[in-house]
């Protein structure tokens, strides 16, 4: 569905603007930022998953030379973090997980801070703990938060559209299965960190890795209010961020601790995570237990989908608890399904707490749905591609949840995978093919009252533009895409555009880098501002060149007359004329774009996004039936992207997303044993390496969305959404073994192979015939 190239910059493979800075070490991460007289903060974590704090003795730490401040939960005002406001930055009275922050120190050197932390003596009284959400729901389970009265969070995640009971009775084929997913983590290469700094008027500047500068401002302001200094300015400065993936969508204890320490020290304080802390004290994707029932008629048309979910919330509540709101999207709207019921319970445990992570619940829900699609197809005797085609979403559909499908390339994505993966190619023994599709928001998502983003463009005397955007570039390349959009509108080159996104004192407001919304929303904001400037330049050009505006165009840094190519004027010259004249004008424009999408109502209906992104992944793999190991031979990822503004960055998003998905499917897990993180390093947390990269072909389906900037949809998250079910389906295709739990480790595959052969390797070891733990 390619369109003819009529653009000079949009659609080009422009390398990321900061690529060379990053490769050569010029880029300044939080690790590199140093302020004069800065102190170093360090946090002491709990030694128990659940315990009463009987006593904290900080006297030895305070006496250590170089220590400036020691704080415990008793020393700080009432500050509550997270969506449920259940999480103080330093805990008083009791700890509820191993990652609970018990005390913090600021010292002149990082080593001293570390030593001081070791000198703090905490006396605990262990409490009964609960690590499994099912147990935690029992009436006699230990309470993680006593005043909450129950471990089940009071969240409204419950919907029922149509009539599932009747549809189930009428369905010709019904499948029912339980799937589980576990903790995985973002693995940002740049570890977390923040520097808090107060000026003489108690205004706060905080340098921090955040995806939500504007919302973080508000969180930090709350902390200042708690400190008794309301109405102060909070300036958030983002250094170069080494990866977000959702992990920086909330504010965290370490940021508030940096503020508290700086407040008491009257000096700048930096808190920087080491790798182990990054694993232990940042949040994960939420583990789920998913019961799904799904049915179709004799023709394979879906009749209902019925899903019950339990999510391990961990000890505190961040965005993880709201992921069911996004899970609703594939549950109600991936394929046409008239009757849908969904209920999710989020349950407190003494485990680590979950956060946003690329896909925001969608990978978990899609794992269950797309695995179940294959099981249903088999039950109905329908080809796996065919059942997906029969039920494919189509342009003009309105889904049961009220999503208005505008452009929809899902059928094309399915076709592309079939063709590029050469699905009919004969398979050798142990080889199998699997496919899975996805739906995701592609045109922003109205989570808050606003889904907006601002942009300001200012031109200099020489034809160069500064673009001030609310967007947060965390490595995904937002700056580059925004520069391309502005360059295209103004007839400039990408290198003429300087994008500034680092500083809330300078940049306009934005709701955050989430929901794959940046290209769509920040792109449209930049486009809006650029259009204003464009028309002013054309207006001025018409005046100076004596040609009517409609006959002028901006191209190659010039104003050009469309019909008389010899008549041109450099944009720089025009700008100088604008600035250096009586009654001159300043070439600056702003634009605030807030898409016309809708908040979900009480019944969760509403057109959440302006447009929806679709995609289909297909994988050919081989299972070693003696080891259970899966080798991916070929992978095709077809995505409906609206328009590829930058095909190179798009490839990057797809490659990165798929590799994240492959890790989710096969190797990655945060191993918690009774709440303790057992693999807080890259040696034992099995994120895939460059050597594990798979043969991957991204296929771009362009549907040119009428609402997207130059037709683009968001594509940040989709890459990792359907990977796990595609792989699980291919394993089934290869060896007839269905794995219902992630990650699909060789152990799990081999155990299932043995079970199928009638040997129970988990219960009885076939060699020693002794009982084996599983």
């Amino acid at each position: 569905m390619g369109t003819k190239q009529k653009y000079s910059t949009v659609g080009k493979r422009v390398p990321k603007l900061d690529a060379i800075d990053k490769a050569t070490g010029r880029a300044q991460y939080i690790q590199d930022v140093k302020l004069p007289g800065m102190l170093y903060g360090k946090i002491l974590y709990s030694k128990y998953p659940h315990a009463r704090i009987v006593n904290i003795d900080t006297s030895k730490a305070e006496k250590l030379s170089g220590v400036r401040v020691v704080l415990t939960g008793e020393d700080i005002p009432n500050i509550r973090m997270g969506v449920y406001k259940d999480n103080p930055p330093l805990k008083a009275g009791k700890v509820r997980s191993y990652r609970d922050e018990v005390a913090a120190v600021a010292a002149t050197e990082p080593e001293i801070a570390k030593k001081a932390i070791d000198l703090i003596e905490v006396t605990y009284e262990a409490l009964p703990s609960v690590f499994d959400p099912i147990t935690a729901m029992q009436p006699d389970a230990p309470l993680v938060h006593e005043n909450h009265k129950t471990n089940i969070l009071k969240m409204p995640w419950k919907l029922h559209y149509g009539d599932v009971e009747t549809a189930r009775k009428e369905a010709a084929h019904v499948v029912e299965k339980q799937f589980t997913t576990t903790w995985v983590t973002h693995c940002c290469l740049g570890t977390s960190g923040a520097i808090a700094d107060f000026d003489n008027n108690n205004n706060l500047t905080i340098h921090t890795n955040t995806q939500i500068p504007s919302l973080a401002q508000k969180d930090f302001q709350e902390t200042l209010k708690a400190l008794g200094i309301p109405d102060k300015r909070v300036r958030v400065i983002k250094p170069v961020i080494g990866g977000g993936f959702g992990s920086k969508l909330d504010t965290y204890a370490y940021e508030h601790v940096a503020i508290l320490l700086a407040w008491h020290a009257r000096r700048a304080v930096k808190v920087l995570f080491d790798r182990e802390e990054e694993f232990v004290a940042t949040s994960t994707r939420q583990p789920t237990i998913i019961d799904i029932a799904m049915g179709c008629d004799t023709e394979g048309r879906l009749m209902f989908r019925d899903i019950n979910m339990v999510l391990d919330n961990g000890a505190y509540t961040s965005w993880g608890v709201t992921t069911p709101s996004v899970m609703m999207m594939p549950i109600t709207s991936l394929y046409r399904v008239p009757n849908v019921r969904y209920q999710a319970k989020c349950v407190y445990t003494n485990n680590t707490y979950a956060q946003a992570m690329r896909g925001y619940g969608n990978p978990q829900a899609t794992f269950a749905i797309e695995s179940a699609m294959d099981i249903l197809a088999e039950a109905a005797g329908i080809d796996r591609l065919e059942i997906r085609r029969i039920n494919s979403n189509q342009p003009g559909d309105e889904t049961p949840q009220g999503f208005k499908i505008t452009t929809c390339g899902l059928p094309e994505c399915i076709n592309a995978v079939e063709k590029v993966l050469d699905i009919e190619k004969p398979k050798t023994k142990g080889e199998g093919i699997g496919i899975a599709s996805l739906i995701h928001v592609g045109g922003g998502a109205r989570i808050y009252k606003s889904d907006g983003c601002g942009a300001i463009i200012k031109l200099d005397d020489f034809g160069k533009a500064d673009v001030f955007t609310g967007a947060s570039d965390m490595g995904q390349g937002a700056d580059t895409v925004i520069a391309q959009i502005v360059a295209e509108q103004l007839g400039l080159e990408v290198e003429d555009i300087h994008v500034i996104h680092q500083d809330t004192d300078i940049c306009p407001w934005d709701v955050g880098a989430h929901a794959s919304r940046t290209t769509f929303v920040a792109g449209n904001a930049a486009l809006g501002a650029a259009k204003k400037i464009r028309s002013r330049i054309l207006e001025l050009g018409a005046e100076l060149m004596g040609i009517t505006q409609t006959k002028l165009d901006l191209r190659n840094r010039h104003v050009v007359a469309q019909d008389e190519p010899e008549k041109t004027m450099p944009i720089g010259k025009l700008l100088r004329k604008a600035h250096f004249s009586h009654g001159g004008t300043m070439m600056m424009a702003d634009f605030f774009y807030d898409p016309a999408n809708e908040n979900m109502g009480r019944d969760f209906r509403g057109n959440l996004s302006m447009t929806y992104a679709f995609g289909t992944h297909g994988v050919r793999l081989k299972v070693d039936e003696e080891t259970g190991k899966v080798e991916i031979l070929d992978y095709v990822a077809a995505h409906d992207v609206g328009r590829a503004i930058n095909p190179m960055l798009l490839d990057g998003q797809v490659h990165g997303g798929v590799m994240m998905g492959v890790g989710y499917a096969l190797t990655e897990q945060v191993i918690l044993e009774k709440g303790r993180n057992m693999n807080p390093d890259f040696r034992d947390y099995k994120i895939l390496t460059a050597k594990d990269a798979i043969p991957l072909t991204p296929v771009v389906i362009e549907t040119i969305d009428p609402d997207g900037p130059y037709g683009a949809k968001g594509i940040g998250e989709p890459g990792c959404v359907p990977t796990a079910p595609a792989i699980a389906n291919a394993i089934y295709d290869a060896i007839g073994v269905r794995i219902l739990d992630l990650p699909i480790t060789p152990e799990r595959v081999l155990a299932e192979i043995k079970k199928k052969k009638g040997v129970d390797s988990c219960g009885i070891d076939p060699l020693t015939e002794k009982e084996q733990p599983c």
């Binding site: 040696r683 034992d684 099995k686 390496t689 460059a690 060789p746 152990e747 070891d765 060699l767 733990p773």
Partner: protein
């Protein structure tokens, strides 16, 4: 991280005497890929690190033309071994192992000697060398001595090295004709991976028959120290080798292994992998013998 003084001797004697004069908080360091990790973690806190990197000749890999022994200097890096044509052609089992240690960056600095002396159960480097009947040569305050590599290890992190002793060479005795070896690391990813189990096998056949003259089956991560599965070796010796025999040897080796559950893997799975890879590596040995003769 604690600071330390870094000493750079040029000869073995100088190294040993530096060690003796700082005896308490002193340590040898080669590539530092274990030492520096542990120092940063605060697990060790040496005041002095004596670098062995500048001892001449100890980083070489060569054949002794008189004895036909392979001499591997303890300071040879994994990368040196990986890229050595001699190793790849005549000792592919060593190549099998070193090429998958850590990453290229790690292999560029990490040494085979450091790998052996570090003596963790999950190390890759020693297994093929033991299967090849390697001998460790050491030099220390009391002069030089040798010990069979299989007897070098006393426990996790513990070896027969006495204070101040330096591992200088690994000597691989001359190999009979009709000998083939192969090693497999069983892991979850393609790089930066410690083995769940490591299987190294060397088989020697009688000339012009498939009768096994000598068998070495050496396992990593199957016990606190590298483990030779002697019953499985005995089982193979004197038998005409084929897949069925190797399957049986695999089962015997699996039974002999003392694998455990850990967060990295479950015992039942490790045991299963022993039997699978003893067979597979055995077959690979046979193939390699066939190819070279």
């Amino acid at each position: 991280m604690k600071t330390f003084s870094y000493l750079v001797p040029k000869t073995l004697d100088e190294a040993v005497s530096l060690f003796e004069s700082h005896s308490d908080r002193v340590m040898y360091v080669a590539g530092g890929t274990d030492v520096m990790v542990k120092t940063k973690q605060g697990k060790i806190a040496p005041d002095y690190l004596i670098s062995l990197k500048h001892l001449s000749d100890l980083d070489k890999v060569k054949m002794n033309p008189d004895t036909n022994e392979l001499i591997i200097g303890a300071l040879a890096t994994h990368r040196t071994l990986e890229t050595s044509t001699l190793i790849r052609r005549q000792f592919p089992i060593i190549h099998d192992a070193v090429q998958h240690i850590g990453s290229t960056q790690i292999r560029n600095v990490a040494t085979i000697g450091g790998n052996i002396v570090n003596a963790v159960p999950s190390a890759d480097g020693a297994i093929p060398l033991i299967a090849l009947d390697g001998v460790a040569k050491m030099y220390g305050p009391n002069g030089e001595r040798t010990v069979d590599l299989i007897h070098f290890f006393e426990g996790p992190g513990q070896t027969v090295l006495e204070a101040g002793e330096i591992l200088t060479e690994i000597i691989i005795p001359s190999q009979s004709s009709h000998t083939g070896g192969a090693y497999q690391k069983v892991g979850r990813r393609a790089a930066m991976e410690l083995p769940l189990i490591g299987v190294g096998i060397v088989l020697t056949l009688e000339p012009d028959s498939a009768v096994c003259q000598k068998a070495r089956i050496c396992l990593g991560v199957a016990a606190p120290t590298p483990l030779r599965t002697l019953s499985a070796e005995r089982f193979l010796t004197g038998k005409v080798l084929n897949e069925d025999i190797l399957i049986e040897a695999g089962n015997i080796a699996a039974e002999e292994s003392r694998v455990r559950d850990s967060i990295r893997g479950q015992a039942w799975y490790r045991r299963e992998m022993v039997s699978v890879f003893v067979r597979r590596m055995g077959l690979k040995c046979l193939k390699r013998i066939e190819e070279t003769n």
